[in-house]
């Protein structure tokens, strides 16, 4: 087996070239993929994929309730971004966040138990699908667009504290028209905040296609005075290279940069959306068969003799087992105790009395 190879134009792969806005140079069109990295990216993407499909199952069994926005199809974005930054960098995203929760270090077990609302969930069952957090990961945010100023604020803290860290701030094609995003662009550019704004363009904001929502669908140009690049979000290496480029740009003190990742979600907007009233099944099938990020990486590695089919199958089996065990935990772990109801209102505070549903119910909040 080959231990690494260089991916580039001479191999006939056009993936790595990006469209540029206000940039003379873009990310390198050549990159090296090591066997170790390749297998890790494969395993991570496969884990995310199977985790989301398991969530789909559990939702249909009514074991997961409320909102559930699945990420399958977009795996190369989360994995590529994480490969391009360090764990000491920061990241914030919107509600389609299970993938990022995983790449930012939360176990599948804790993610699934949060979805099922159990005490073993990363937020002890109090947050749910859209409100999971970890070190240097600020969620999971439910209000469309609100996470973008937050991300710029994290970047301000990075600059203020002088540790050469950057903040990756994600939003979707639907959120891209939010006024507060333009407010964030302005301040980030003005103050040269180390913020990588990333628009994950999966072509639909809920049921509204990009053409029906945006006067300009060149999301990578919408930062105007902020340089931008448009990247193939289905190719994990393209995403990685672009992210490395963007992170270098920010760390050099030049200010913010904007990346548009062109990607696709197989599921509807959420579990309550079949996802076929505003797009065709043919379109979904076409992407699945021609541009699936996991299949593409697998084929790439096998065709170049970097991994064997047996190895891949082994990884698949291991992942399947991990997901099954996590689902087992998520369905058997108890719900949070009622004593938790009023906890975590304030941090570092004396116990507080909390009014219950009637005057005789006097609850206590312990921080």
């Amino acid at each position: 087996l080959v231990s690494c190879f260089t991916v580039g134009q001479h191999n006939g792969l056009q993936h790595l070239r990006c469209d540029l806005h206000r940039l003379d140079e873009g990310p390198s069109v050549q990159t090296v993929l090591t066997r170790e990295d390749g297998l890790r990216y494969y395993r991570t993407m496969q884990t995310m994929r199977r985790m989301e499909l398991k969530a789909d199952q559990l939702y249909k069994q009514k074991i997961i309730r409320g909102f559930c926005h699945l990420y399958d199809g977009q795996e190369a974005c989360a994995v590529g971004i994480e490969a391009g930054i360090s764990p000491t960098d920061h990241l914030i995203t919107a509600y389609r966040s299970h993938g990022y929760t995983y790449t930012r270090g939360v176990s599948v077990k804790e993610i699934m138990a949060e979805l099922t609302g159990r005490s073993g969930g990363v937020a002890k069952g109090k947050g749910g699908s859209m409100h999971m957090y970890a070190k240097n990961f600020y969620g999971g945010n439910g209000i469309v667009g609100a996470q973008v100023p937050l991300g710029a604020g994290v970047a301000l803290a990075c600059q203020y504290q002088g540790k050469n860290e950057v903040c990756v701030t994600l939003y979707g094609d639907g959120a891209a028209n939010q006024g507060q995003i333009f407010e964030s662009f302005n301040m980030a550019a003005l103050w040269k905040l180390p913020c990588i704004f990333i628009c994950e363009n999966n072509k639909y904001g809920m049921g509204t296609s990009v053409e029906r929502a945006s006067a300009s669908t060149d999301y990578y140009k919408r930062g105007d005075y902020i340089p931008g690049l448009r990247v193939d979000g289905m190719d994990v290496l393209s995403v990685r290279e672009a992210t490395r480029f963007a992170a270098d740009y920010c760390r050099s003190g030049k200010g913010p940069i904007l990346m548009e990742l062109q990607t696709y979600r197989y599921h509807g907007h959420s579990m309550s959306d079949p996802g076929v009233s505003y797009r065709t099944r043919e379109e979904i099938q076409e992407i699945r068969s021609k541009s699936d990020p996991i299949t593409m990486l697998k084929d790439c590695m096998i065709s170049r003799n970097m991994a064997s089919l047996e190895e891949i199958k082994d990884i698949d089996a291991t992942v399947r087992k991990e997901i099954e065990e996590a689902a087992q935990f998520a369905t058997s772990d108890p719900e949070p105790p009622l004593e938790d109801l009023c906890k975590h209102i304030f941090y570092n505070d004396a116990p507080l009395e909390v009014r219950g549903t009637h005057p005789w119910m006097r609850l206590k909040s312990i921080s």
Binding site: H90, I92, V122, A123, K124, G125, K126, G127, H131, Y133, A134, Y138, G139, N141, G142, I143, A146, V148, P149, L150, G151, A152, G153, V154, A155, L156, A157, C158, Y160, Q161, C167, G179, Q180, E183, S184, N186, M187, L190, W191, D340, K343, H344, I345, F346, Y347, N348, D349, L352, V354, P359, S367
Partner: protein, 338 residues
């Protein structure tokens, strides 16, 4: 009168007390910084941050563009990532543009994350009616913010309140909405030696009895405390002794202090500048109904509030849109049936 030697008291305006609090906390903790419109080079729209930019520079005192939703969100993000921002709204009327960041990003996050993500931030600025600024610039937001779990809401009256409570707010690890009052900025108060110290803190969530009395309890916050004390002085000449409670904090509300007082005086009147419906007074009255003090009431508790209209401009109309001393006196006499 204070029992200590009055010669160590000095006269300090509310504005200067706030300025001192900001200065002391900026000096004490380098994670603290101030951002908002005109806070730096303009010295603050109402001069509350006078001199701070000169002393601390661009890194700690940040002028923002006129983009409330954006800079409030940036402030919250900075708090999540380890800093301790003070986000100024030029007036709280403009906070409506940013209210999603205050409530959904700041107030709820510690709970939603089950304790993983605290948000140590202060949102401050002038609140409520001013003079001649008309409807869009005169709203009181005490009830709106006071409604939400996860927030602390503070409403100082005196210079001592302003300093001690702002310092506590900045040191608090939770989101605090700090409601100042433009008409109070220039009002001087005696400040004790203790209050002048750099470590002077007042606890959030504890009311103060500004004047003791046996006949009726007047509960108020911010500028209306002045009116209550003025009304009490007039009533005292007729032999009616009012107990005036300065709430200091809207949320968490010091219901116990109010109940203790009502159990002594048997009469309650709340006084606020904001609108009546679903307001601060409405909450206090509901709690009294539901608590131990109800049985001690000799008359229904009532509220004195702003008139239920958008604030008009013409002086005669504006003057009659908010409680006047005569309204408090009238209500006291009605309640006491004299």
């Amino acid at each position: 009168y204070s029992s200590s030697d009055i010669s160590d008291h000095i006269s300090v305006t509310v504005r200067d007390a706030l300025n001192q609090a900001l200065d002391e906390e900026l000096e004490r903790d380098e994670r603290v910084f101030l951002l908002g419109e005109e806070v730096a080079q303009y010295d603050g729209a109402y001069k509350v941050s006078r001199g701070l930019w000169k002393k601390y520079g661009d890194k700690r005192i940040i002028d923002t563009p006129i983009t409330e939703m954006g800079f409030a969100g940036i402030a919250v993000g900075a708090a999540m990532a380890g800093l301790r921002p003070i986000c100024e709204f030029m007036t709280f009327n403009f906070s409506m543009q940013a209210i999603d960041q205050v409530i959904n990003s700041a107030a709820k996050t510690y709970y939603m994350s089950a304790g993983l993500q605290p948000v140590p931030i202060v949102f401050r600025g002038p609140n409520g009616a001013s003079a001649g600024v008309a409807a869009q610039h005169s709203q009181c937001f005490a009830a709106w913010y006071g409604h939400c779990p996860g927030l602390k809401v503070v409403s100082p009256w005196s210079a001592e309140d302003a300093k001690g409570l702002l310092k506590s707010a900045i040191r608090d690890d939770n989101p605090v909405v700090f409601l100042e009052n433009e008409l109070m900025y220039g009002v001087p108060f005696e400040m004790s030696e203790e209050a002048q110290s750099k470590d002077f803190l007042l606890p959030i969530g504890k009311a103060k009895i500004e004047r003791q009395g046996n006949h009726v309890t007047l509960v108020s916050h911010s500028r209306m405390v002045s009116l209550c004390l003025d009304a009490a002085a007039v009533l005292a000449k007729e032999g009616i002794e009012c107990e005036v409670i300065n709430m200091r904090t809207i949320r968490p509300l010091d219901a116990e202090a109010i109940e203790t007082s009502v159990m002594k005086t048997n009469h309650l009147i709340t006084v606020e500048g904001g609108w009546p419906q679903f307001g601060v007074g409405a909450e206090i009255l509901a709690r009294i109904m539901e608590g131990p003090a109800f049985n001690f009431l000799d008359a229904p508790a009532v509220r004195v509030t702003g008139v239920d209209i958008p604030m008009p401009y013409a002086k005669i109309l504006e003057d009659n849109s908010i409680p006047q001393i005569k309204d408090i006196i009238f209500s006291v006499k009605k309640t006491l049936n004299v």
